[in-house]
Amino acid sequence: MTVTAPARGAEPAVPGSDIKLGLTLYSLTSEWAAGRYDLAGLLDVVDAAGIGPGIEIVASQTIRTYPEVTDEFVRDWREAFDRHGFVPSSFGCNLDMGRRRDRDMTPDEEYEFTVTQFRSAHALGFPLVRIQSAKPSLIRRLLPVADELDLTMGWELHAPLGPNSPRVMEIRETYEQIGSERLGFVADFSSTMHSMSPTILRKLGKMGLGAEELDRLQEIWATDADINARHGEFVEYLHSRGIAPESLGSFARLAFNMHGHVDPAEWADIMPQIKHVHAKFYDIDEHGDEPAIDYPAIVREFVRGGYSGFFSSEWEGHAFADLDEADPVDLVRKQHDLIRRSITAALTSKDS
């Protein structure tokens, strides 16, 4: 039997807006994967750094018995959350439809695999589940379970897509047809970057790309063609320069997949449906800014739109950096400062 978590709240980051802070433990992927901490130790580090109170997980990363949770895990989790005053923000589900090699999951299996994770999320006290499939038949079937467990379902809107991309428009139509408050989006700021992050450019430089190739990559990135077309153009260009695309591993494609350049103003088009935010970032520069993501401009949209919920800090620099090349805890702390400063600026300009 699972017991509903006591209702807990997090204070707004800055009075006057209802944006709350926290992080996804995914920000500490490298340290976690290296076995530097167990879960209790990881939560201690987050508390000591003051980068809660909202805690998000990728279930397939955090839970050894994924997609299920054991009673023991739930008990330890709750004890730790009570001790630290943390608030569960978002439970990242995955839909492992290609788990078997001989065939994909059947619709029944997709439903059951997802429901198992919904029940785990509920047992851990999460109010929201990040979902990866917005297939209308699956969504409709999951709704009664979300009702029973009092969960909101947020489809993750991530680069290269934006709020008005054709695929997202289809999901918005599905949501409109179903008309449930339990359906919405997890907005990931990777969609709205103004340039490629210096972090991935540095990595590609280390892997052998010269200044000219990196310039060309950024030019292609900035065009409006779809991801396959842009990736294809870059691969062709690499060939023309005598560079084997394979020498860059998966990074040549990730560059397009992980970074989108949609206008931050588009978030306003779906603001009432944004239930949670992945405050994506790769670095914080010496001025306290994110070099490729315009936090003040994005935050302004969320303050003006009256967003109420978490900004869950998601440092993804670990995809391009080795363990100990950067300190994710310190970076999240600096990014929280940037978010607070951006909220304050937005509130000031709103009043004037």
């Binding site: 992927t29 290296a34 050894r64 994924y66 290609g98 788990r99 998966s250």
Partner: protein
């Protein structure tokens, strides 16, 4: 995938402890292939054994293990037979390649995004041979 503690002593030859070359735990069925070279010499795939906890598989058996989770904090140990076991403190050049098929990133029916990870390092053997 390889850390400075990856090279293990084994009576068969040596063991190589691998970290998951992805950000989340994966079902063992997600491992499409493993290739190992020792001192630049490629080891015949059929001779490799893959251990997770107390379970042992051949590389071509991994595809069927859709209900065995390679938890991100656990190490997959590839056991490589050699003419003689490596000694404590011995330095060995190893190269490991792991191909993944990511089960939640579908492109088309039964077709998924793949990831190719390759790592070569000169490592020092340690630990009790078992």
């Amino acid at each position: 995938m390889l850390t400075e503690n990856s090279l293990l002593r084994r009576p068969e030859g040596l063991g190589i402890a691998l970290t998951v070359p992805w950000y989340r735990s994966l079902w063992l069925s997600s491992v499409s292939d493993i290739a190992v070279s020792v001192e630049g010499r490629e080891i015949t795939k059929d001779d490799l054994r893959v251990e997770l906890g107390d379970r042992t598989f051949r590389v071509d058996e991994l595809a069927d293990q859709w209900d065995v989770l390679w938890f991100i904090q656990d190490r997959l140990v590839v056991v490589v037979p050699l003419d003689r076991p490596v000694d404590e403190g011995e330095q060995v050049d190893v190269e490991v390649t792991v191909d993944l098929r990511l089960p939640y990133m579908q492109i088309a029916p039964t077709k998924y995004v793949t990831n190719h990870a390759s790592n070569r390092r000169s490592l020092v053997a340690h630990g009790e041979s078992r």
